[in-house]
């Protein structure tokens, strides 16, 4: 029976992590946006407003559940749960450190990709269940956007998988550092298996993956419904999109899902392109920086640092770029990102056959 207890503990730990991350991201998003707009941001609650996120959560927990009288009650109630659970389940296959992965699936990436497509159903449930035209419009926009941007994101990820030759996220990470049992070639020419560090990351093993990563990053912004792809939420046109009718804890779940999604897509990108839990410090002669900084604790540290940096870039972009129009959004996806992603996939195949 012991392993059932482990399952529950791991699941609880991951849930606690998503909740903590959301609190942290909430505060940092407010502070970063304030910095970028030359304001102070939250300053009242705690030192430098550091307890602001907790105050927000307490406020949210106290609020009443309001169900609009003409809403479809079952769909309306279930939607936030479906949205959050679909993102939360994705965390199951992500490796945190060498030998530390909640579930080391052979199909890891494919599984995450499948689970994330569940979120669209949850959003449509919310939009339809609210019986509000803004919510429905927001949901339709959101789903159209997520379904189209899944294609460039998926193909960019596939081009990295073709280099690593596995869907298992743990093995993808192992193949980008000194723990790899295969030889790693920097830019396809220089043997760096024992040097590791930055040079062994996927984007430097095959430089066209830098383009693939940029494509994936842009598409992942669209999948999180973040600016500049936030037309589903467009405050100025749609009030707040699909979650306009939600209040209290249910809104908190939608919110939790959005921030967990940011972390999740960031971490997928980090694992597949930026070395996962591998350190960026290389071994230089007898100064074995890479060997010293690889291990259980270090793995968690590196993957967290890298992913938080990616999340910071997502926040930075949100507060810098204006929103795209619907037609710009679609033509950008289908006419720019998708062909480029296909090109990356083609180069990956040739690279794998000739250079590795």
């Amino acid at each position: 029976m012991n392993f059932y207890l482990t399952y529950v503990l791991v699941a609880t730990a991951l849930f606690a992590f998503t909740a903590l991350f959301t609190l942290f991201a909430l505060y940092s998003e407010r502070k970063i946006s304030a910095f970028m707009q030359d304001r102070l941001g939250p300053m009242e609650v705690g030192k430098y407003g550091s307890l602001q996120a907790f105050a927000d959560i307490i406020k949210m927990l106290q609020k009443e559940f309001i169900i609009p009288s003409s809403a479809d009650k079952i769909l309306f109630t279930l939607a936030p749960i479906v949205i959050f659970v679909s993102v939360y389940l994705g965390f199951a296959a992500l490796p945190w450190a060498p030998g530390l992965s909640p579930s080391s699936l052979n199909l890891g990436l494919f599984y995450i990709f499948a689970i994330l497509s569940m979120e669209t159903i949850g959003i449509l449930m919310a939009g339809w269940g609210s019986n509000n035209k803004y919510a429905l419009l927001g949901a339709m926009r959101s789903v159209a956007q997520m379904v189209s941007y899944e294609i460039p994101a998926g193909i960019a990820l596939i081009s990295a998988v073709m280099i690593s030759q596995t869907f298992n996220m743990q093995e993808v990470s192992i193949k980008q550092g000194i723990l790899s049992d295969e030889s790693i070639l920097f830019l396809g020419v220089w043997e760096v298996s024992s040097i590791g560090g930055l040079l062994a990351w996927n984007i430097f093993q095959a430089p066209h993956l830098i383009i693939a990563y940029i494509i994936y990053f842009i598409a992942s912004l669209a999948e999180c419904n973040r600016a500049p792809f936030d037309i589903p939420e467009a405050e100025s046109e749609l009030v707040a999109g699909f979650h306009v009718e939600y209040s209290g804890l249910r809104f908190a779940f939608v919110f939790l899902a959005e921030y967990s999604m940011m972390f999740l897509v960031g971490m997928i990108g980090v694992i597949l392109f930026l070395g996962g839990w591998n350190t960026f410090l290389p071994n230089i002669g007898s100064v074995k920086l890479s060997t010293w900084t690889t291990g259980m604790g270090w793995g968690i540290f590196w993957v967290l640092i890298k992913t938080l940096l990616v999340v910071a870039v997502q926040i930075w972009i949100r507060w810098t770029l204006p929103r795209l129009r619907v037609d710009q959004l679609m033509s950008f996806c289908w006419k720019v990102l998708t062909p480029l992603a296909f090109l990356c996939m083609l180069i990956s195949g040739i690279w794998r056959l000739t250079m590795m």
Binding site: D72, N106, L107, F110, A114, I115, S117, M118, L136, E150
Partner: protein
């Protein structure tokens, strides 16, 4: 009863009940969303058969594709068209006879086919290799699609290409002459 068996029966009954409800429910949107439950529990059944790749592919194709398409079709069609579908009166009518006959025939066909097959004693089940839980099934699937099943694979891809070209042609703006 072990935990696996319990989980199996749970998902099996969930599949059957939700599939029945999908057909019987009056509210069309809810029945589409229930279809999601059916698909998911069916994917769980595939996992029990150690066909994890098929389970995940089913979720990708049906949840990410077909279900979203159905919802879009539903939400973009007009209300009068759907009201005829939604308000079907209960009770037996003579016009329902054809449907009943077809369903009964299908059921008879399925049951007789399963009982005739004698699944336990098939030679390829008795003598075939069994896969274990930790086998990497995608390697096998990949090797087999590119060698033994290459022709069907290529035929499917040509077929999909045809569908894509057809869709592009249908949605193309007519040139005014």
């Amino acid at each position: 009863m072990s935990a696996e068996q319990l989980a199996f029966y749970f998902f099996a009954s969930l599949t059957l009940i939700s599939a029945l409800l999908v057909v019987c429910m009056q509210n069309l949107v809810r029945s589409i969303f229930l279809f999601f439950v059916t698909i998911f529990s069916l994917a769980a059944m595939f996992v029990f058969a150690l066909a994890d790749f098929i389970a995940v592919t089913e979720v990708v194709v049906y949840v990410g594709g077909v279900l979203v398409l159905m919802l879009f079709a539903f939400m973009l069609s007009n209300k009068e068209l759907l009201s005829g579908l939604q308000n079907i009166a209960g009770g037996f009518k003579f016009t329902h006879l054809a449907g009943l006959l077809i369903c009964g025939g299908m059921l008879f066909l399925l049951v007789s086919a399963i009982s005739a097959a004698d699944v336990v004693n098939l030679s390829w089940i008795k003598n075939g290799q069994a896969i274990s839980e930790n086998d990497n099934t995608i390697h096998q699937i990949g090797i087999h699609t590119m060698t033994r099943y290459l022709l069907p694979f290529e035929v499917v891809s040509v077929f999909l290409m045809m569908a894509l070209i057809g869709a592009a042609h249908l949605s193309r703006r007519e040139r005014r002459s």
